[in-house]
Amino acid sequence: MGGVNAMKKGIVLCLILVMVLAVSTFGQRYERHETLYAGGGLWEPPSNWNPMQPWGAVSGTIGLIYETLFTYDPITDTLSPWLAHEGEWVSDHIYRLKLRDGIQWSDGKLMTADDVVFTFTLPGKFPSVHFRSLWEQFESVVAVDPLTVYFTFSNPRYHEWSWQLYQIPVLPKHLWENLTETQVLAASNEGNVIGSGAYLFETYDLDRMIYLRNENWWAKTHLGMEVAPKRVVYIRALSNNVMLGMIMKGEELDVSNFFLPGIPAIKGPYDIHTWYEGEPYMLSDNTAFLFANNTKAPLDDPILRRAIAFAINSEEICRRVFEGMVLPSNTMGFLPSDGWMKYYIEEVAEAFGFSYDPAIAKKLLDDAGYRVAAGGMRVTPDGKPFKLEIIVPFGWTDWMESIRIIALNLRAVGIDAEARFPDYAGYFEQLSTGDYDLAINNFNSRLSSTPWTLYNWLFHDIYDDLATSGNFQRYMKDDIPDLIDQFNEIKMDDLEQGRKIMAQIQELYLTQMPAIPLWYNGMWFQANTNVWQNWPGEMNENKSYPTTWAGTWQLGGLQMLTQIYPKQ
């Protein structure tokens, strides 16, 4: 018994000793007015900082650490040189790019044209690099002097190029040239995170990623720009509700790109900043589409798809589910940004477009022979009853509520429909294998420099019968894809020619109605003004696109950090 007592005493003593030791050293606390707490683009513990794996890299890897040649501002629709000093098509097939002089990697080495050549030709070495299709368009990529690169294209696709110019991060050749395929494509890059950007990799833990300001950032001298926060603490969240509480407290969350329900109600009392002061509060970032499986009867009938489009009350969804924080989509699914709207053909929209009108939906169905059978639901023209299942991933509450409304809308015109909620992997498998009726998706309908990205996502070919990234409706005809390719090959400044082709695409789109645009998901953005001020907004001089989502910092998120300042 004595032994046990002695042991107990020992343990207690040890504990006290540890406590004393712990208390005797004070840890560092980040200075509040130098630190920005952000969240909205990190859902898993940080585990990947590899810019060649954009699907897995922690938000900020591209944008804060690794930078792109250009940036794109969706508010003003301008593509601006960033690492590039300038870039232009010197002939139909040759693009000349000049790099800024004196850009340093964070290890002190200079960035040169060789780094650019290395990056853009990496898919030649490792075919699984994600921009291989771009590389396949090159005839040659040559550095003629330390700052100039000539890209010679066999078959230039101008729209795609304009988009890739602000997507592909430039890599430091001296650190990457000896890496193996596995290191480039299947390793985390930890320990090798050397970029040219405004921030450095400092540290991370299970629930946060911490960036430290790069005091030697090139833009300070070249552009007179400086990022205000010394540290960016990027917070991983497990639920939106916690983040709602955090942004209201404002102690450890300054800017949030979470979808937070209830913002209209708490905005005033808690002084939460949003882009617009009133509805819709948020900018539009991407379009949510209702995909209809074009290969599955009876949805293979364009008339039925058009009737569905007329039957859905997007306005009601925006109001009831999103509390007015999103806007109903236009008939084409085009985001209200100049870069896209200059290709929106008003005449086509008027002639062939749709809007919520159950009477038209019913008439379309009646005329096509979808008569109402006993029980009040319609049957196909050959007399078969049918029921449509609408799916979204379980737990995506806003979408779950939306498809409940859509199911009601459809039943109101006599189309039997039901909302279903498989879990994410199940949902995505159904979507990619075409084993579904109707589903909402928005993954790559993002705002961009050209509507080509939208159409490429909606209509590109399906390989091995698997729709991996878009064309979930399984549009198999060649007409629209061919036109999209033609559009891609028209120069960016040839608006007239571009619009001509767009008119054809859009007419086909609206008469076929392969996927139905519903509403614009918001660029969710809420900021607390306790510590940082001058957040971007409609009425403010700071008009940066307020995003911190992975892969979008170069659209305005970084700009935002250069314009905010701490409260005096």
Binding site: G27, N48, W55, L206, A425, G426, H460
Partner: protein, 330 residues
């Protein structure tokens, strides 16, 4: 004793084998392609997604026939390699579990043990005080029926947002670093309180009710009555009743401790607390075979170990088991 142990160990090994095999089979039978979900947001040309997909499939070995995958799974498990997680690509599963486990255990272990101890004492106490029992029992019933999620939100809202006494998210302040300093330790403790309380309070009710009912039952049992008639002091009778009543509670405790590595999912979500519960939940939703296997491996081992220790503990705390084993020998 030796034969008893040998037989137990053999049964445990067999169970282990089947459980681990099931862990391997079940996730693979769910519909869904983990690599497709990983790449679902990659914006590029479809033929390129195919290439990346193939490359990743090969690096995970998912392109091989099932029996090869199964055998290589056993092979690598014996050298402590549980594979690479798909959702946390390219982090090894072992490292993910080891990183998250301390956060989970430091919440769940004290919550379970303390609620067990306090619940037992309190339950036994209330069983003898009729008056107290009358008002405390309904409270326990309410507590034990309270969903963790609801209590968590309530605590977080009242003590966190409205009164602003405790933080509502994270394992320690986002303003400090994880290092051995007073700043960190104090911050960790402040963040620990609410998640701990939300588990402790709910579990307390369950243990207390169990103990109270058992004590009342034991005090009514023949042996208690007999002792009473024989004029034994009530303290002694209570002591025996407690010894008997604690047995089912020990089993309950072991079951709880066995699955402790799965963490406390809802608590983690409500308090945005890093831990293993949410990792496992996400892994299942995204068909991260390797992480699912890894987590369940620990669960299986945990449950078996807990059962094993219970068997041993029963020998120590229950003389009847001890005697029956003695009888077996002769």
């Amino acid at each position: 004793m030796g034969r008893y142990l040998r037989r137990k160990v053999a049964i445990y090994l067999l169970t282990l084998f089947f459980a681990i095999t099931l862990n391997w089979i079940l996730p693979r039978m769910m519909p869904g392609d983990p690599i497709l979900s990983l790449l679902s947001r990659l914006a590029t040309q479809p033929q390129q997604i195919q290439r990346v997909h193939t490359f990743l499939e090969q690096s995970f070995g998912l392109d091989k026939p099932w029996y090869e995958q199964y055998f290589s799974f056993w092979r690598s498990m014996f050298v402590g390699d549980l594979g690479i997680s798909i959702t946390h690509f390219p982090k090894p599963v072992t490292q993910i579990i080891m990183d998250a486990l301390p956060f989970s255990l430091l919440i769940t272990l004290p919550a379970i043990l303390l609620s067990w101890i306090v619940g037992n004492k309190f339950g036994a106490f209330a069983a003898r005080k009729k008056k107290m029992d009358n008002w405390v029992l309904p409270i326990w019933y309410v507590l034990t029926a309270t969903p963790y999620l609801w209590l968590g939100i309530l605590l977080s809202w009242s003590l966190g947002v409205v009164l602003n006494i405790f933080p509502i998210a994270g394992a320690y302040s986002y303003q400090v670093r994880r290092e051995w300093t007073s700043t960190f330790v104090l911050s960790y403790l402040r963040h620990w309180v609410l998640p701990f309380l939300s588990l402790f309070i709910v579990q307390l009710g369950g243990w207390a009710i169990g103990m109270r009912n058992m004590i009342i039952y034991e005090l009514e049992a023949d042996y208690s009555r007999f002792m009473e008639t024989m004029g034994a002091p009530s303290k002694l009778i209570r002591k025996y009743a407690y010894k008997n009543a604690i047995l089912p509670q020990v089993t309950g405790l072991a079951v709880q401790l066995g699955v402790i590595v799965t963490g406390a999912l809802t608590t983690e979500i409500v308090f945005s607390y890093p831990g293993i519960g949410n990792l496992l939940f996400e892994a299942i939703k995204r068909r991260d075979y390797f992480l699912i296997q890894g987590c369940f491996l620990f669960v299986v081992i945990g449950v078996l170990l807990a059962n094993f220790f219970i068997d041993i503990a029963y020998v120590l705390i229950d003389p009847r088991v001890r005697l029956s084993m003695g009888g077996e020998k002769t």
